[in-house]
């Protein structure tokens, strides 16, 4: 039982890392909290519902299409909102409200167009039988989602640490002003990071119906809190720390569900508050506070 909880915890941990990594990338580069992140995930879930369940496209194609769509939507969204936000007195605090407004708009439009019904996708549609793990079985869909998450996280690593674009992105994360001073085009790099973050959220959304159960247009806010908890554990602004945060979150969620199930809903909130109070910079963080 314990071994099973740990194994499924790792699978879910990889998935939760994917859920959070886009929000963390955006925070790391722009120092803003994207509260529309959960709604991008919701859009990805709709993408899976139509493209995979409706049209029957193969899952890898659905993943690529959803990533590309949200990536391309993220670029104009960045130019529309973020540069202007930075002219305000407290961009970080106001970003919470601004992106909450955006999330309301997305939620309302989706609900108007497609209704508020709960939608789900049976996990057997992904194919494969139950996979035996530690004497019990897990749905093939979980293993599939865990695998895709790992691939996407590896992609983030390559993007950030093995390309010129990634080096410029990390320069902005480290020292915004100096990055400007050495001639990096801040807005171009940030817009790409925003697009990548949105695309990653959409990919997480493709697998949300399998990992998190049925979905509605209004699942965004709770996903925001989950994402924030995951990335705060790992450390805000460090995209790869998200992997550690996701694993810790996934394993402790599965342990709670196994041994103390009625309080499992409390977990993300308590973990978030606990980590913030004990080590606000996250487990891998540098010092960022200045008061």
């Amino acid at each position: 039982m314990l071994a099973y909880a740990l194994a499924t915890g790792v699978i879910f941990g990889l998935y939760f890392a994917l859920v959070g990594v886009g929000m963390n990338l955006v925070f790391g580069v722009m120092r803003i909290v994207n509260l529309a992140h959960g709604d991008f995930i919701m859009l990805g879930a709709f993408g899976a519902f139509w493209l995979f369940r409706g049209l029957g496209l193969p899952p890898p194609v659905v993943v690529v299409l959803c990533f590309a769509t949200l990536f391309l939507a993220g670029l104009p969204l960045y130019y529309l909102l973020v540069p202007r936000l930075f002219r305000a007195r407290e961009p970080e605090m106001l970003s919470l409200i601004l992106f909450f407004g955006l999330s309301q708009v997305i939620e309302a439009v989706v609900a108007m167009l497609f209704g508020n019904n709960e939608r789900s996708i049976p996990s057997r549609l992904l194919g494969g039988g139950p996979v035996p793990i530690m004497g019990q079985t897990v749905p093939f869909a979980w293993v599939y989602a865990g695998g895709v998450s790992l691939v996407m996280l590896a992609g983030v690593y390559v993007y950030l640490y093995r390309t010129r674009l990634g080096r410029q992105t990390r320069a902005i994360m480290a020292q915004r002003e100096e990055a400007v001073a050495i001639g990096i085009d801040i807005h171009r790099i940030s817009a790409i990071a925003f697009g990548v973050g949105s695309g990653l959220a959409a990919v997480a959304g493709v697998f949300a119906p399998f990992m998190l159960g049925s979905f509605t247009p209004s699942i965004g806010v709770s996903l925001d809190l989950t994402s924030f908890a995951v990335i705060v554990i790992g450390s805000l602004g460090n995209p790869l720390g998200t992997l550690l945060g996701g694993l810790i979150f996934g394993v402790s969620l599965m342990l709670m569900r196994t041994y103390l199930s009625s309080f499992a809903d409390l977990l993300p909130n308590l973990v978030l508050i606990g980590v913030l109070l004990v080590k606000p910079t996250g487990l891998l963080g540098r010092r960022v506070r200045n008061a």
């Binding site: 909290v33 909102l81 202007r84 936000l85 305000a88 007195r89 407290e90 970080e92 605090m93 106001l94 970003s95 919470l96 409200i97 601004l98 909450f100 407004g101 955006l102 999330s103 309301q104 708009v105 997305i106 939620e107 309302a108 439009v109 609900a111 108007m112 806010v221 809190l225 924030f228 908890a229 705060v232 805000l236 009625s262 309080f263 809903d265 409390l266 993300p268 909130n269 308590l270 978030l272 508050i273 913030l276 109070l277 606000p280 506070r289 008061a291």
Partner: protein, 306 residues
């Protein structure tokens, strides 16, 4: 008493209280009037902490819910008289506020989201099936309080006057000016010998108590409610947007915000919630991008250019 403080009381707080006191004679939807007062208190209560210390609690509704449950538990477990139970609601919110004071060490978005997580945690704790004997759990609360529309309405107005009185005092008193200095530049303020931590703590607890008291009044009037209803994050969001729309740190701004936006909500939000949500979302975006200091700053901006 300071002259400007008395001017604020005389020109804003008392006329507003009188207006709401006579409105029931002309307009018979008492519940709607009460809801207006509830949101006025929440907006001004949030204004206490956001307007004067810069901390934006996304989980502000946690105090409202704590007040509602403090009230109902005083009624069901201790059979207290309703007035005493309303005070109990304030005390419950005060205790939650004290418990959460360590959050004030956090800054910016960290604080906002941590307070939201705290209010969600409180919701899951109170709504937990294993605490059903104590709180009613997920099945909600059914109170046998006497239905008293007039007393609850008058009580709400009294709480509103006290909250707005406090805002007016903070705008002009020495203590309030120190707080505003600390909000605008905490380093310079502490160099000048201002006790920043104490000031922030006072407004934080005061805003908690305001939400708790009005939450208790809300519970009295509703008498039957579910945990989701009194911990609904929309209370926080409405209070934040109303305050921001009018202008945080001002006395009249949050009042304007509530009157215009909550009025709009009742005009279209109830019959067409999705259109309201869309409009509300767009309004928030426009507000933050173009008027981050609210309506109250517009005349000031004109004066500067003119």
């Amino acid at each position: 008493m300071h002259r400007l403080f008395l001017r604020d009381i005389g020109t804003v707080v008392l006329p507003l209280a009188v207006l709401f006191a006579v409105l029931p004679y002309f307009y018979d939807n008492g519940l709607l009037l009460l809801n207006f007062v509830v949101f006025l208190v929440l907006a001004q209560g949030l204004n206490l902490t956001y307007g004067f210390s810069g901390y934006l609690p996304f989980g502000y509704v946690g105090f409202f819910g704590a007040g509602a449950y403090g009230f109902s538990m005083m009624m069901t477990l201790a059979s207290a008289p309703p007035l005493l139970a309303v005070l109990g609601g304030g005390v419950a919110a005060l205790l939650v506020g004290l418990l959460l004071t360590p959050l004030l060490r956090l800054q910016g978005a960290y604080f906002g989201l941590a307070s939201l997580a705290a209010s969600e945690a409180l919701l899951h704790l109170i709504g937990n099936p294993s605490l059903q004997d104590l709180t009613g759990g997920p099945y909600g609360v059914r109170l046998n309080t006497p239905y008293a529309p007039q007393s609850t309405y008058v009580l709400a107005i009294v709480i509103l006057v006290l909250t707005m009185g406090l805002v007016a005092w903070l705008r002009h008193s020495r203590f309030g000016l120190q707080l505003q200095a600390a909000r605008d530049n905490s380093l310079a303020a502490s160099m000048a010998g201002i006790d920043i931590v104490f000031g922030r703590l006072v407004v934080w607890l005061a805003s908690a108590v305001a939400a708790g008291l009005i939450g208790a009044v809300f519970a009295w009037r509703a008498s039957t409610f579910f945990p989701d209803a009194v911990f609904d994050i929309n209370f926080s969001i409405f209070a934040i947007v109303f305050t921001l729309f009018g202008g945080a740190g001002t006395l009249l701004g949050p009042v304007l915000g509530v009157m215009l936006l909550y009025g709009l909500y009742n005009a279209i939000g109830v019959s067409a919630p999705q259109y309201f949500q869309l409009g509300f979302g767009l309004l928030i975006v426009v507000l933050v991008l173009f008027f981050p200091e609210g309506l109250a700053a517009i005349p000031r901006r004109w004066a500067r250019h003119g």
